[in-house]
Amino acid sequence: MIKAFKPYRQRPVIPLVYAIFVFLPLYWLVIISFMTQDEATSGLSFFPKNPTVNNYLYILTDPGWTLGFVNAAIYSGLNVLLSLAVAIPAAYAFSRYQFLGDKHLFFWFLASRMTPSAVLFLPLIQLYSEVGLMDKVLGVALAHCMFTVPVAVWILEGFFKQIPPEIDETSKIDGRGWISFAVKILIPVAAPGIGVAAFFCFMASWVELILANALTTTEAKPIVAVLFRAGGPLGFVHLPILCAAGVLTIIPGLGLVYFVRHYLATGLSMGRVKRM
């Protein structure tokens, strides 16, 4: 038996240094969130002297802030559902068929991803005010589709291409309708790809600030916008509270990374990335 060749370089120090580089800034965010304002602003410290959870209590008992978390979670979730619902059929069409204008359409999907939110937020405010989507979580979810749908289509198209077309035909011979085919065959087979696409959609929607801030006023304000108002670039209003809120906004991301951890590498490699 040939001894398996280790293709990666045997220098574990590099990944370790990288992990520390990622961790250190987060460590300071976490420790400051357990400090008092005086301690946080008095100088550099490596550990809170008298750890306090008051900052977290302040956030979790103020409906303005907790509502911000709920809003962000709702529109990010809504965005994932909306994006996948329209991206799955579109990606399937792009992966299986040639049709009039398919290449151009694919490029225009990408163009939508490339347009800076700073270009579009003004007309979106006007448009959404006209149709009653202003200050609604649905409005933010729809606006975020502008950059999540193209990415989802792009990722899924790569995945569907990997699925042999024979599956489609067998299903047709079995007498399945297209809904049954999509729900019972296509979606289960492409589950890792759908997981990765959902990850990217959620990520894009959760981290976005410009549109989420511009399209909401009071009811649907997400946490990032609440934070932006409370502690924008003009100064640290109350640094430990901002850091505590920051820690809270990272937790859903951590959870998501944990759930899709096995898909992230295999998922990406099965999809777009593999076809080279």
Binding site: P7, Y8, R11, P12, I14, P15, Y18, A19, V22, W28, L29, A40, S42, G43, L44, V86, A87, P89, A90, R96, F99, L100, L105, F107, F109, R113, M114, T115, P116, A118, V119, L122, P123, L124, L142, M146, V149, P150, P165, M203, W206, V207, L209, F228, L234, G246, T249, P252, G253, L254, L256, V257, H262, L264, A265, G267, L268, S269, V273, M276
Partner: protein, 285 residues
Amino acid sequence: MKKRTKNSAFWLVMPASALLAFSFVVPIMAVINYSLHDVFFGNNFIWVGAHWYETVLGSVEFWGTLGRTFLYAIVVIAIEIPLGVWIALHLPRFGRQATFFIMIAAVPLLIPWFIVGLIWKVISDASIGPLGVLASGVTDLYDLNNVITAWMIIVLADVWHWVGLVVLLSYATLVAIPQAYYQAAQIDGASRRAIFFHVELPRLKRVLIIALLLRLIDGLMVYIEPFMITRGGPGKSTTFLSQDLIQTAMKEFDFGEASASALIYMLIMLTLAWALFRIMTASDD
């Protein structure tokens, strides 16, 4: 695989197209309309034709901001892509350790951009941040009111934030390379260097174009991180296009001028993206 021609497949693309038409095409039309008018209070339009375009194209400030934005995108790409590939090459390929490092790479991508800005504002602060305290202890040149320091901090923050994307994409590709390729190379007596250039790099090409495209788009759109860390200063040295557009529109209420520069900006980006897209689809065949 050869695809079948079937024009009715267009119906499958309809829902996605309709959604994007609503959230993207309609607003773009409105932007074009704004750019040709002088807008008062958001609803009084006076036709001015190409006036705003002339103003923008003739403005030294616009070209300065555009140049800075491109410089920023180029600098971060030049660092993140080689660094990301290099890190990915050194990651373990199997087991729990591999999963751990993949999660590490993904975490910064899921942090709201505002928080990334906040984190780096704290880290770089000369009185309370570890990096700021350390650096200002070592050298007097560390000063956030100094253009070079400010740039170094925002670039470092961007690398921290985004290098994980390149790591993830490259890692996924490297893992998918069959062992047989490596064994063949080994039997041929190829050096590690030769394996990289002849086995790994050709396979990474496509994914690196994707990474380049995504980083270029987001690098050119960068807004909140530098704004949080440096407020666009010192002077205008870290003011990039998105911040400029938002300021023109919201603070100065020059919808027309903001729209005209937005469209010029978009046109440049689309041209670039189209070129990259062509390179990418060409490498498909």
